[in-house]
């Protein structure tokens, strides 16, 4: 009963340890390979689009980055620098296209506004589990007390009944 409360409070400290910052821009590092699988080097026009689900048709956000410097396949861009990223949801799927090279990447899951939103779910789930167990133990304890009180009164009634026989 009481120790559950202690554990519950101690959890709050743990949550703050694992929380992350909110981000409106997403710093994205990617790999660009040509259609034959070799790592691309040079400047590429990359088209980024974000979808709500792995298989949805229309993107909810898109941005084109021209002349992105790609070195041995590696590149980095700041998504949201041209078209503001105002995603309030939970998880999205990013698709990268390089039309000139004719390549299109698979959809990669990325976090919406940072992991902070996800943390709320973790916290909610954890809280509910502990709350449920705590409340159940509380109800058990209360019922126990009631029964014991009843037993005592019944014992008194019984001794009185036997005394009057």
């Amino acid at each position: 009963m009481k120790f559950l409360l202690v554990l519950f409070i101690s959890f709050v400290g743990l949550v703050s340890h694992t929380s992350a910052q909110v981000a409106r821009l997403v710093h994205y590092q990617g790999m660009l390979k040509t259609s034959d699988g070799s790592h691309f080097t040079g400047a590429a026009d990359l088209y980024f689009s974000i979808y709500q689900r792995p298989l949805s048709e229309t993107p909810i956000w898109s941005e084109q980055h021209k002349n992105v410097e790609v070195k041995d396949g590696h590149y980095e861009v700041l998504l949201g620098s041209q078209n503001p990223l105002n995603l309030s949801f939970y998880e999205y799927f990013l698709e990268v296209r390089a039309d000139a090279l004719g390549v299109k990447g698979p959809r990669i899951p990325i976090a919406g506004s940072g992991y902070n939103f996800r943390l709320k779910f973790l916290f909610a789930a954890y809280t509910i589990v502990w709350l449920a167990l705590f409340l159940y133990m509380l109800s058990l304890a209360r019922r126990q007390k009631k029964i014991i009180a009843e037993l005592e009164t019944l014992a008194k009634v019984r001794t009185r009944a036997e005394a009057t026989k």
Partner: protein, 231 residues
């Protein structure tokens, strides 16, 4: 009442072990287990969602065995175990049904998916509910115990059949979203956290069961005394 002092001691010891296990478990879940790559922090729900499911099944198994013994031996104690286990089991089943969607929302972008496990748990929850309702809707405690025992046996044997039929159904309509991938290739620290969590929850179940059983025993004792005094 003399037996209660030794059982009380056992309960206190178990409670102490449980407290220690819970603290270690929290450490393992939140500090030791690494962050999962694709799901992030929210994956940690897994460490108490799956053990809750395990406990819900374990509790139902206890109901099953206790129901058989009750019908066979006619000893009221078995019925008390069955009732206590059912009450605890329904709580854990409810927790599975709550933490499941909470986990699913940020990971799959939807509150509910008819996955085999969640669907099975929905059915299990309803069977539990029917069991508990049967208990309270029947007049006469001994009768209620008998009916509930029969239903408990039927219900438990039904669960694998339900699971098989859901699986066959899902094979025809596969889930369109990316699955969680919680079982595939767990990091050893994650394995440790998970199995310890399983252990802790089992301990918790045992503790709650003993506690609830004693309460049930006292409740029955009270009604027995009341009946005697009524003469």
């Amino acid at each position: 009442m003399k037996a209660t002092t030794s059982t009380n001691r056992a309960v206190v010891l178990l409670g102490g072990a449980l407290l220690v296990a819970m603290i270690i478990n929290l450490y393992l879940i939140f500090m030791l287990a690494p962050e999962e790559r694709s799901m992030g922090q929210v994956q940690r729900i897994f460490y108490f969602h799956v053990p809750s499911a395990w406990v819900a099944f374990l509790a139902f198994f206890v109901v099953f065995i206790a129901s058989i013994f009750y019908l066979w031996k006619k000893d009221r104690t078995y019925d008390m175990v069955a009732y206590s286990s059912a009450e605890i089991g329904v709580i854990f089943a409810t927790l599975v049904l709550i933490t499941g969607p909470i986990w699913a929302r940020p990971v799959w972008n939807t509150w509910w998916e008819w996955t085999p496990r969640l669907t099975l748990f929905l059915v299990l929850w309803f069977i539990y509910l029917a069991y508990l309702m049967l208990r309270s809707f029947v007049e006469g405690e001994e009768r209620a115990a008998r009916f509930a025992a029969v239903f408990g046996i039927v219900g438990f044997l039904d669960v694998p059949l339900v699971y098989v039929s859901i699986r066959l159904w899902r094979d025809i309509h596969p889930s369109p979203v990316i699955a969680g991938g919680e079982g595939s290739g767990l990091h050893p620290d994650m394995k440790l956290a998970f199995f310890f969590s399983l252990f802790t929850f089992t301990l918790l179940f045992g503790f709650l069961l003993i506690y609830r059983f004693q309460l049930q025993k006292s409740t029955i004792a009270v009604s027995e005394i009341k009946k005697q005094l009524a003469y």
